[in-house]
Symmetry: C2
Subunit: 262 residues, 2 copies
């Protein structure tokens, strides 16, 4: 299970401030700390970037890849920002992402074909609602895969995000229990070892005490890992969550690294 | 997932001292604290009790059930101690346990028939070695179940312990990864919803720092829970492990208790 840093997000005030000033240094500093903490890929969550999307995403990609050669996950709903990021990206790029939403199918999905990149597909309804229950998630996955194949992409380019729900949502816990089965079943259902990604920080969104948030993350992450999750999107500055991810990796991939590294 | 306290074990010096003096009070005190912590059953690990086994196990059972009406898991390899414990036990009793070892099949297993109790069966070879790998574990489970049925017992009386291995064992991590599949597959393989139990403290046996031990337990327990483990045998005084067990329970059994209780 690869560890992807979710730290570089526009909702983090220092990231927004650096972007406003077009100052690479705070971004480089954060990325360097993410890499030191153990990140194996960096998610660049720029938000929709309604003003100057090309210029701003180019700046972000340049800033990040001046500090690391790790894969970059370009995380925006703005197709102009996405394309500019893909053009600027010399590191391996992953598009984050598409869903059955018509705007994503028409404007984001084709970019994976045009730029030969991997792409994350969200298990969401076309109206961006979260399907609740295993059967509905699987049905959405089949429809998502169908749209993905119609866009002329290769199976190996797909990474599915089953969308971890906040536990404070009415059906959040029920949904999260379902996605454990979904992650386990997807390779059989789609007929190839499809990769999966999950955003762990989403679990404890809302007004819970930080200690409770960490405990929830640290209990759910091993469940996802044991189900076969390929990539965990986490705040790599949350020490307990990161340690849990590394222990999970050791449990599931014996011999990869030693206990001393945890 | 039920939480079973493994605290009442003869290797804990105060328990040994109380048994030597036949003093119920320290036992009662420990059991009361286990119940307050959230234990839903108590494992009485008396060891083999080579001297006065009947008298000593009777004392232990009486001491424990003077403090709780929770189910008691009688954990000894000594058939005389086991039978005395079963006779003394007014709470629900569970025998812990048998394995394909000839001595266990001939002297322990028949007690479950005689006293109409549930019984824990260990996935071990007849020489008490641990099978490594999913296929070997499954083969042992089939042989264990066969012996169990030949003893005239009902499916509902069986609880399988796939034997968590210490991570410091050469094949420990590999084995533990296998038992996740084994727990998931057993109901299909045996043809009924067989219950399972696992001793979590076993994972971090050996000379690891206590903080590392807790982290290992807290990462592996959710994997076992998600695989469908029915009963987790833990040290209920390890706060993080207990909290993790409760969070797992919430994740997998929505609505059973509120987040405030974690």
């Amino acid at each position: 299970m690869l560890i992807v840093a979710d730290n570089l997000r526009i909702t983090n005030r220092p990231v927004q401030a650096a972007l406003d000033r077009m100052d690479q240094e705070p971004i480089r500093d954060m990325v360097t700390r993410c890499v030191a903490a153990g990140a194996q890929a960096i998610d660049i969550n720029s938000g929709p970037l309604s003003r100057n999307p090309e210029e701003k995403m180019t700046f972000l990609v340049e800033a990040v890849q001046s500090a690391t050669t790790l894969p970059l996950i370009l995380d925006t709903s703005n197709p102009k920002a996405m394309e500019a990021g893909l053009i600027a990206c010399r590191n391996k790029a992953i598009i984050n992402g598409f869903s059955p939403e018509p705007r994503k199918l028409s404007a984001i999905l084709p970019l994976a074909k045009k730029y030969h990149t991997d792409i994350i597909g969200y298990l969401l309804y076309p109206n961006s609602q979260v399907p609740v229950g295993e059967e509905d998630c699987i049905q959405v996955a089949i429809e998502l895969f169908d749209a993905f194949k119609k866009a002329g992409l290769e199976n190996e380019q797909l990474i599915i995000d089953p969308v971890v729900a906040p536990v404070i949502w009415e059906n959040g816990i029920h949904h999260n229990r379902s996605i454990l089965s979904v992650i386990r079943l997807l390779p059989d259902i789609l007929g190839f070892p499809v990769r999966t990604i999950a955003g762990i920080s989403n679990l404890a969104t809302g007004s819970l005490p930080p200690e409770t948030k960490r405990k929830l993350e640290c209990a759910f992450l091993p469940m996802l890992a044991a189900a076969g999750l390929s990539m965990a999107l986490i705040n790599v500055f949350h020490r307990e969550t990161l340690q849990t991810a590394r222990i999970c990796h050791s449990f599931l991939n014996p011999g990869v690294f030693s206990w001393a590294e945890i």
